[in-house]
């Protein structure tokens, strides 16, 4: 990299302040890189802070800067909170009309932390960590909500956790590409033509509710809380994709099965929700009587943790009477909940061991594809041996391969020959449904597809063996 091959002549000056390490993610919007800010006074052994750089491609022909990038810029330029990702800079490369957002780098995220416990450690996350993560998530969210910002896309992969250093174990809410200021009523997401994961979507939206409120974020927090406890997504519905804004029957069914079927008596505004009203899918049919949430999350029904969780997963969001306690809890109220006042108390570093002397969990670092430059072009030079940041196996190489193939077949071929690796094999095997040992797929592998595409592949290919852990799109 750094050979200046692509766009070299027009390389913008701002690029000089970074030392590129490699690519750490890819999505529909563009690429994410890991870089280090060069120290202003270079000295041997001195390294600048790590920065995640999100590169936005020009979206479609004639659309200019993507609305996603605009939302992130306009919101993150205004806000400042310990539990919200920090936008440190914005850069533009006028030559190819690309836009770069530079963030403080976070080594971990909840998606990977949960996965590490589920697939590698086979043990749950300790109570102190769960509580600290949840408290910080609520703390950041309370800040956003009190500033009239709804995130609208909270899910484990968007909740970053800082790696070792000054801010170790601190949560950063990230990815504000769908976030909105909600002084005026908000239109449904489908009006923006965007697709978001349905597993964390609130029932009022699944039932066709037209307006977003901050309560949708609290529903997602409830889902994430349960997932931190059980290491499994709470409501893993299969997404319907038959038309632009399909009715997500399976997702609602998953929710009703666990929380009990809602009734108009319990949830008066239910009758106004479009999908409930027209009831073509017979969702009004009273099927599930006994809520079984406490069995799923293995919490005693009388425990404060369960009380908090069930208040986050409350159907009702509007007060039927001023003192009706049955209403989804707000972030501000949740922070005051008894759960956070009992031992273990939540802490600033969520990743500390809960007891002195207890072993510290070493979470894996993000895989870095060190062969890609800022243009997303793979270097022709032999790859350096993986640095401290690189993943074992260099699976990220395999990920970038298919796209490179048509343009630069030689590069791709060399790579396969030289760097043939287990991860690439797994990825392909997994996709094709030939993963008999159910080897967990490496994060890097196949990461360039959209999460939904991947989930579909996983559903078809791996069927029962792996009921739908999507290889989520890497954010950063």
């Amino acid at each position: 990299m750094g050979d200046g091959r692509a766009g070299g002549a027009n390389r913008p000056a701002w690029l000089q302040q970074y030392e590129l390490i490699g690519k750490i993610g890819e999505g529909t919007y563009g690429l994410v890189f890991l870089a280090r800010l060069k120290p202003s006074h270079p000295a041997p052994g001195r390294r600048g802070p790590p920065i995640a750089i999100k590169k936005f491609k020009q979206s479609k022909e004639g659309d200019g800067v993507s609305p996603t990038a605009i939302r992130e810029i306009m919101l993150l330029r205004e806000i400042n909170h310990e539990n919200v990702v920090k936008l440190v800079n914005v850069h533009i490369n006028h030559a190819d009309m690309s836009l770069y957002l530079a963030f403080d780098y976070a080594e971990h995220d909840l998606y990977e932390i949960i996965r590490h416990h589920r697939e590698k450690l086979n043990s749950s996350i300790n109570h102190y960590t769960v509580k600290s993560l949840l408290w910080q998530l609520l703390n950041g969210l309370n800040y956003l909500h009190s500033n009239w910002i709804i995130h609208r896309d909270l899910k484990p992969s968007n909740i970053l956790v800082m790696g070792e250093g000054e801010e170790h174990g601190i949560i950063k809410i990230a990815d504000f590409g769908l976030a909105r200021i909600y002084q005026a009523p908000l239109k449904p997401l489908s009006d923006n033509g965007v697709v978001v994961t349905i597993w964390y979507r609130a029932p009022e939206l699944l039932l066709g509710g037209k307006h977003y409120t901050s309560a949708v974020d609290m529903w997602a927090v409830g889902c994430i809380f349960a997932e931190l406890l059980t290491l499994k997504p709470l409501f893993q519905g299969v997404e319907a994709k038959n038309n632009p804004n399909p009715f997500q029957l399976d997702q609602l069914d998953k929710i009703f099965k666990v929380l009990g079927h809602p009734t108009v008596e319990k949830w008066p505004t239910l009758a106004n929700l479009p999908w409930w009203q027209n009831d073509q899918q017979h969702i009004q049919g009273h099927k599930y009587e006994n809520p079984g949430l406490h069995n799923i999350v293995h919490l005693p029904p009388k425990s404060p943790a369960f009380d908090l969780l069930s208040k986050m997963l409350e159907y009702i969001i509007l007060l039927s009477s001023l003192y009706d306690p049955r209403k989804r809890i707000t972030a501000a109220q949740a922070l005051e909940h008894e759960y956070f006042r009992m031992d273990p108390l939540p802490g600033r570093n969520a990743l500390l061991p809960s007891q002195p002397g207890e072993k510290v969990v070493q979470y894996p670092v993000r895989p870095v594809d060190t062969t890609t430059d800022f243009e997303g072009t793979t270097s022709l030079q032999p790859t350096q041996p993986p640095s401290g940041n690189a993943p074992p196996g260099g699976q990220a190489v395999a990920r970038s391969m298919p796209r490179q193939m048509p343009q630069q077949p030689m590069v791709g071929m060399q790579r396969v020959a030289a760097g043939a690796n287990i991860a690439a094999f797994n990825a392909q095997a997994g996709m094709a449904g030939l993963n008999p040992g159910n080897i967990p797929m490496q994060r890097g592998a196949g990461g360039q597809s959209h999460p939904h595409q991947l989930r579909r592949k996983a559903d078809q290919g791996m069927g029962m063996q792996n009921p739908g852990y999507p290889q989520q799109k890497r954010r950063f």
Binding site: Q58, G62, D63, G64, V65, P67, I70, I73, M74, L75, R77, E78, I79, N80, V90, I92, H94, M97, L99, N147, W148, I149, R180, I181, Q183, K187
Partner: protein, 257 residues
């Protein structure tokens, strides 16, 4: 913070009056006087306005666009940033920020329709998209703008003079022909418009103003500026500044390459 004016980038960026109407060096060299500089800004604000009527966006979007436009020229020269291109691009960017995106090709279409005869106003989609990026940079990526409209409605309600809403709203619209939004907190501009409206419509709300505990000197100063503006520029809102007055000034600016 996004919904709290006092901690917003808008608040932090407010300028002193003397820093707003400074003609950039490059424009001074082309013989643009402070008066002409002001005239171009008025002219282009109404250009944005008329374009916005065509593409049908909310008042808020227009107000944000004009604010961007005026902010740009506290930092950049008109010689370098052609106002004829900056204006529609501000509308383009504002429409995205205010979540009511207007497509660039639609803007290009209506610009052609509006200024068909004048080649200097005609731009291609590519020009707008390139300028969008330069604008983001020139605005230092601060995009959230507060406006007097919301406080205006709240204050009128509070003062119990909602019958003046339409009149006061029109006054607020006209404040965007000036640089007030770069200088004063939006609620102070709203108060000045209410003050003017109450005086002109003979509503005595002196006691209400006293209870507000705001600096009435500032409110009155803003009001005087607005009234002075009406005296100086008797602008036809439909057509903006007359052609014979603005053309010579625009001709001092370099035409597009």
């Amino acid at each position: 913070m996004a919904a709290n004016f006092w901690t917003s980038s808008h608040c932090k960026q407010l300028l002193d009056p003397e820093d707003v109407d400074v003609v950039p060096a490059a424009d001074r060299e082309r013989g643009i006087t402070p008066e002409e500089f002001r005239l171009v800004k008025i002219h282009m604000s109404s250009h944005i306005w008329r374009l916005a009527q065509q593409v049908k966006v909310r008042q808020r979007v227009i107000a944000t666009a004009v604010t961007y436009f005026r902010r740009v020229y506290t930092r950049k020269s008109m010689s370098e940033y052609d106002p004829r291109l900056v204006a529609p691009t501000c509308l383009y960017l504002a429409s995205k920020v205010e979540e009511s995106t207007v497509q660039a090709r639609l803007l290009v279409f209506y610009i052609k329709k509006m200024c068909g005869s004048d080649d200097k106003y005609r731009f291609e989609i590519k020009d707008i998209l390139e300028m969008e990026m330069k604008l983001l940079e020139a605005l230092d990526y601060y995009l959230v703008v507060f406006h007097p409209y919301r406080p205006l409605l709240q204050l009128l309600q509070d003062a119990g003079i909602t019958d003046l809403t339409q009149f006061a709203w029109g006054l607020v619209n006209d404040t965007y022909k000036m640089d007030l939004i770069l200088i004063y907190p939006p609620y102070m501009i709203a108060l000045a418009c209410i003050y003017i409206a109450s005086v002109l419509k003979d509503k005595d709300i002196t006691s209400w103003f006293e209870e507000l505990r705001v600096d009435m000197n500032i409110v009155k100063n803003i009001s005087m500026e607005i009234l002075d503006f009406y005296d100086t520029y008797k602008i036809d809102p439909q057509r903006g500044i007359p052609e014979d007055k603005i053309s010579p000034v625009m001709n001092k600016l370099p035409a597009k390459a």
